[in-house]
């Protein structure tokens, strides 16, 4: 009796966690992507440039540095899959959507701020990725930070005033 309980505890709990992580993790990811797509559509006509040089017809004034960030982590299920994958090498597909949605979220936060602040464009946008160390002392990471920053501008170009 006690051995079957132990068996259930030893294998059941991690298994249940895996299932919960998979179900909720996938759901959250789908929802997040849906939200990203919707918000991206809303800011599509806001000029975001990775160059620092202004198009010649822009007359810019009032520059301001803006920052958007987000810290994300993989769910338990995907972490296990990624761990298995790194034994054999090759592409770790579970990480790709995570980094993609985090980066897009950081950019969205940056752009939404610029829009809310009444700015007309963002120039010299830079993206950075950094890993947060795990305080438990383990090998794993506590999270991955995506940082997006750029210079927001007000312009008096008719192109923007018309919008």
């Amino acid at each position: 009796m006690s051995t079957s309980w132990q068996l259930a505890l030893n294998y059941g709990v991690p298994l249940a966690l895996l299932i919960i992580a998979y179900v909720i993790g996938s759901l959250l990811e789908r929802r997040h992507f849906a939200s990203i797509r919707k918000r991206e559509a809303g800011v599509r006509n806001f000029p975001v440039l990775t160059t620092a040089e202004l198009p010649p017809d822009w007359q810019a004034h009032d520059a301001r540095l803006l920052v958007g960030n987000v810290v994300v982590s993989l769910d338990y299920f995907k972490r296990i899959i990624a761990g298995l994958r790194s034994i054999f090498g090759g592409r770790i597909k579970t990480y790709e959507p995570l980094l993609d949605r985090a980066r897009r979220e950081a950019v969205l936060r940056l752009v939404e701020q610029a829009k809310a602040g009444g700015f007309d464009a963002l120039i010299n946008v830079r993206l950075e990725t950094s890993r947060l160390a795990n305080s438990a002392g383990g090998e794993g990471t506590a999270g991955i930070e995506m940082l997006a920053f750029g210079t927001a501008l007000r312009t008096n170009t008719s192109r923007f005033n018309a919008r």
Binding site: L65, V71, L98, I123, E128, S135, G143, E145
Partner: protein, 112 residues
């Protein structure tokens, strides 16, 4: 997120301040902060780690830290008489278990 509480110093990550002329250079100004995560946030993040997604506590922690580093950089720029910091960069490094250094640096200038 707002990087500074008052806007007397213009910040930009471009090599000039668009719409303004640089009249004087004051050199590199820097600001840093070293932060550790606190246990409460760690526990919440640990739970969030099961289902994945955004770790809001850490997002806010890094936001606050970056703001602090920027404020220090701006204070230094103010003390040398600058009215703008151009080409601002951010960097993050892991110093020890659970502690990160965030720093901001740029070139202090006077624009007109």
């Amino acid at each position: 997120m707002t990087l500074t509480s008052n806007n007397d110093i213009i910040l930009s990550n471009t090599e000039t301040v668009p719409g303004k002329q640089i009249v004087e250079f004051y050199g590199v100004v820097t600001g840093n902060t070293v932060r550790a995560k606190h246990v409460g946030r760690d526990i919440m993040a640990g739970l969030k780690n099961i289902v994945g997604g955004e770790l809001v506590g850490y997002t806010e922690l890094l936001q606050d830290s970056r703001q602090e580093a920027t404020e220090r950089m701006v204070a230094q720029a103010r003390s040398v008489g600058a009215n703008a910091v151009i080409n601002v960069r951010f960097a993050t490094s892991s110093i020890a278990q659970g502690a990160s250094e965030l720093f901001a640096y740029g070139t202090a200038v006077r624009v007109a």
